[in-house]
Symmetry: C2
C-alpha cells in the first residue's frame, strides 16, 4: 500500500498537535485504517519556539515552496491562519495537484468561492473539519451523516472565548471586563481577542455552515454581526431572573423564501440545551427535514481537539486517494427555495429590553405609549431596584416585533429626558 505524504505549513499549536497525533498514534492509525500516513515536511516561518514534539532538522523548513513544489507530497495541511499567504499557498498547492486540509475559517469564509472553484476545477478537495467547532464532527455530519437532508435552520455557539466570558459572568457574577481578563489569563483568549468578542469569528464559521446547509457562499458584509462587549452583568442577571441565559448565537434560518443570517448576543430559555453550554464549549443546533433537530456539542478549542479533526480529514483524504475516489462527489447543492437574504429591518424576534429611566410617576406610561405606537406589545415588565440616585432599570420582554419597529421605538424613547442611558435590546430565541 502506497504511503501518503503530508506537508504541513504552520507548526504552531494545532500544527504540532497534528504531528504529535500522527506520530504517537502511527501504529493505531495504520491498524485502524490500513493506511500509511507520513509527515514528510513541516514549514513555519519561525522555527525557534519550543513545541511539544521535536522533529529532525531535515523535516523542517522555513520555505513553503519546499512543500508546495514537492511532487512527493500528496496533501497540504495549511494551519497558518489569516488570509495571506495562506490563500496563495492553497491555490499553488491545488495547481500542483495536491489536496488540501485547512482549519482556516476566516480564509474559507472570505475567499471560499475562489478556493472551492479552484479545487473543483482540478478535481481536488479542500477539507476543513477543524474550522468549525474544533473536534466536533459537524462538517462530516452535514456532508455525510445527513447527506439526504435539507435544512431549515442552523444555529449555535461557535466561539469558545466569548462563551467562556458569558459563562463566567453568569456563573460567578463578574463583569465583562473581569471575565475577559480571566479568559486571557487561563489561556482561553488571545491577547487580542477582538475577533472572538466582536462576533466576527462566529460569523466566519456560520458562513461555512451556511455553505454546507444551504449551498450558498454569502459575503460577511451581508451578515448582521454584533459582539458581546456591550453585555453588562446587570443584563446577565436580569435575564437569569426571567429564566434565560445570554449566549452569543450565530443563526441562519429559512423564513419563507428568505434566509435570515445574524450573529448577536441572544437570550435563550433555560429549558433549551444551548443555555447549558458553558465555558469554552461550542454547540451547533441543526434542524433538518428528515433527521429532525440535532445538536452536536464539544470543546470549541484546544490543541488536540482541533488536531483530531485535522487528522480525520487527512484519513478521509488518504482513503480517497488510495481508492482513486473523488469525494467532492459530496457536492454542495444550492437550496433553490431561498430567494434572498432577509434585510435586518425585517427580522422579527421577541426582545429583552432595558431602560434606565428617572424614577418618577408617568415614566412607564410614556415608554409604553411609544412602544404601543410602534405596535410592540409587551409580555412582561418589571421595575428593578434603584440603580443610582433617581434612576431605575425598567426591564421588559416584548412579544415578537419587527426589528425596524423596535429600533424606531427605542430611538424615540432614547431621546426623552427621562431616559438616562441608551436603551439595551437583546433578541430572544426560543427554539
Amino acid at each position: 500500500m502506497k504511503k501518503i505524504n503530508i506537508g504541513l505549513i504552520g507548526f504552531g499549536n494545532v500544527g504540532s498537535g497534528v504531528v504529535k497525533i500522527l506520530r504517537d498514534k502511527k501504529s493505531f492509525l495504520a491498524k485502524r485504517t490500513g493506511l500509511q500516513i507520513q509527515v514528510k515536511k513541516v514549514c513555519d516561518k519561525d522555527l525557534s519556539g519550543k513545541r511539544n514534539v521535536s522533529l529532525n532538522k531535515g523535516m523542517l523548513t522555513k520555505n513553503a515552496r519546499e512543500i508546495i513544489d514537492d511532487p512527493g507530497i500528496d496533501i497540504l495541511v495549511e494551519l497558518i491562519g489569516g488570509l495571506h499567504p495562506a490563500k496563495e499557498f492553497i491555490i499553488e498547492a491545488l495547481k500542483k495537484g495536491k489536496n488540501v486540509v485547512t482549519a482556516n475559517k476566516a480564509l474559507l469564509a472570505q475567499e471560499g468561492k475562489e478556493l472551492f472553484a479552484q479545487a473543483s476545477d482540478r478535481g481536488k478537495s479542500i477539507y476543513f473539519e477543524a474550522s468549525v467547532g474544533a473536534g466536533i464532527p459537524i462538517i462530516k455530519t452535514l456532508r455525510e451523516g445527513l447527506v439526504a437532508n435539507r435544512f431549515n435552520s442552523i444555529y449555535g455557539i461557535l466561539n469558545g472565548t466569548s462563551n467562556f466570558v458569558l459563562s463566567q459572568m453568569s456563573k460567578y457574577n463578574c463583569t465583562f471586563k473581569k471575565a475577559l481578563a480571566e479568559a486571557k489569563s487561563s489561556g482561553f483568549a488571545e491577547k487580542d481577542a477582538s475577533l472572538d468578542i466582536n462576533g466576527i469569528d462566529s460569523a466566519h464559521k456560520l458562513l461555512l455552515l451556511i455553505y454546507l446547509c444551504f449551498g450558498k457562499l454569502i459575503s460577511l458584509d451581508d451578515v448582521y454581526v454584533e459582539g458581546i462587549s456591550r453585555i453588562s452583568l446587570a443584563d446577565v442577571n436580569y435575564a437569569k431572573e426571567l429564566g434565560f441565559e445570554i449566549k452569543l448565537l450565530a443563526i441562519a434560518k429559512k423564513e419563507g423564501q428568505d434566509l435570515e443570517v445574524r450573529v448577536h448576543p441572544t437570550l435563550i430559555p433555560k429549558s433549551h440545551l444551548l443555555s447549558s453550554v458553558g465555558g469554552i464549549f461550542n454547540a451547533i443546533y441543526v434542524s433538518s427535514d428528515l433527521a429532525g433537530d440535532l445538536l452536536l456539542y464539544g470543546p470549541g478549542a484546544g490543541q488536540l481537539s482541533a488536531a483530531s479533526a485535522v487528522v480525520s480529514d487527512i484519513v478521509d483524504l488518504t482513503q480517497d486517494l488510495q481508492a482513486g475516489l473523488f469525494r467532492p462527489t459530496l457536492n454542495i447543492i444550492p437550496d433553490k427555495s431561498i430567494k434572498r437574504l432577509r434585510k435586518m429591518d425585517d427580522f422579527s424576534s421577541r426582545h429583552y429590553i432595558r431602560f434606565m429611566a428617572v424614577d418618577k410617576p408617568g415614566v412607564l406610561a410614556k415608554i409604553a405609549g411609544v412602544l404601543a405606537k410602534f405596535k410592540i406589545s409587551i409580555a412582561s415588565v418589571s421595575q428593578k431596584q434603584r440603580h443610582k440616585a433617581h434612576v431605575v432599570p425598567i426591564v421588559m420582554v416584548s412579544h415578537e416585533a419587527r426589528e425596524k419597529d423596535l429600533r424606531s421605538a427605542l430611538d424615540t424613547i432614547a431621546r426623552f429626558d427621562i431616559i438616562k442611558e441608551d436603551p439595551v435590546a437583546i433578541r430572544i430565541e426560543e427554539a
Copy 2:
C-alpha cells in the same frame, strides 16, 4: 456511472421511509453524490397494509430469496428486526457477495461476532447507523470523525420511549402508569413496550457503542440492566428537589483496567446537558482522548429520522462500491488497556436512597448506624412529609460507596420492623 441496486427486506415503517426518501430525493441525491441508487426489489411477508409510498407490483415480493439470490442487487437493506430470519438473510446475502445495511440492534448486539466475522471474511461490510439514535450520526462520528481517538467512556439516553415516560412524569407530575399509557396513545411506545422499559433495548445499543469505542463484543448476559418500571413519581419529585432529573442511562466507562458496563435509571444533576434531554430524544455523551467530551443529540425514533441514517449508509456503501474501496478498512481495534469487565459488586457510585420508615424517635439513628457500619457516608438527609399514617419517607444522598456495601446495608435495614417498604436506591452520575 454504474447504477447500484438495492434490495430491501422489511417494508414497514422505516422501510417505507427509505423507499420514500430514495424516490422523493432521487435527483437531489444524484446531484449531491453523483451516484445512481435504485431500489430494485422490496420484500415483506405481509404486503397488504397501506404504506405512504406505493410501488408497482413487479417490485414487491414475499420471497426474500428473490433479493438474496439476485446477482443484480448490490446492497441488502435489512429492516425486519428480530433475530430470525434476519440473521440468516444477512449471512446468505454476504455469501452471495452483497453488502448489508441494517438497523437491527438486537441482532447485531447478540449475533454481531458471527455476522461481522462473516462480512470481514468475504471483504464485505455491514453498516448500521440507524441502529443507535436513529438519525443521529453517532456511528459515523465514532468510526470516522473521531478516527484517531481512544475513548474513556460513552454513556447516554438511548431509548426514546423510556425517556418520554420519565420526561412526562417529571414535567407533568404523573405516575409511571399514566405516562406509559400516554406514550402508547401518542405512538411513542409499541403495544408491548417491555424491551424499551426494561432497559434491554438500551443495552443492545450500548453493546454496539462499546464495540465501536473499545473494540469488544460483550455478551448481554454480562451487562447489568435495570429498567424504569419501578421508578415512582415520588422519587422523580424528590430527585428534582435535590437538583436532579432521573434518566435511563446506558453507561460504559473505563475504570483503571476494568470496563464498567451498566444500564439503569440514574440521577443526573440539572447542570448536566443530559438532564435537559426530554421526550423521545436521545443523546450520547462520549469522552475521548483527543477531541474531549462530545455530545450528540437528536430524535431517537421516527420513520424519516431512522430512514435518513439508512440512506446515509447506502450512500457511503455505494460510494465505496463505485470506487472499489473497502472501507471496513475502518477497523475496530480492541483497547488492550481493558483487562476485564467490572463485577457489579465493585461498581462505585453516589446513590439516592429512600426509606419508608415508621415515624418514631430513633429510626434515623438505627438506619444511619447500619450505613456507617458498611462504610456508607451520607451527604444529605431529609425527612419528607408523612405519607401514610405513621410512615414517612426518608431521602438520603450518599457519598461514593461500593455497590456491594450498599446492597448489604440496604438488605440489613430492609429487615427492620420500622421499615415498611423495600428501600429504593438509584445511582447518581455527575459527569
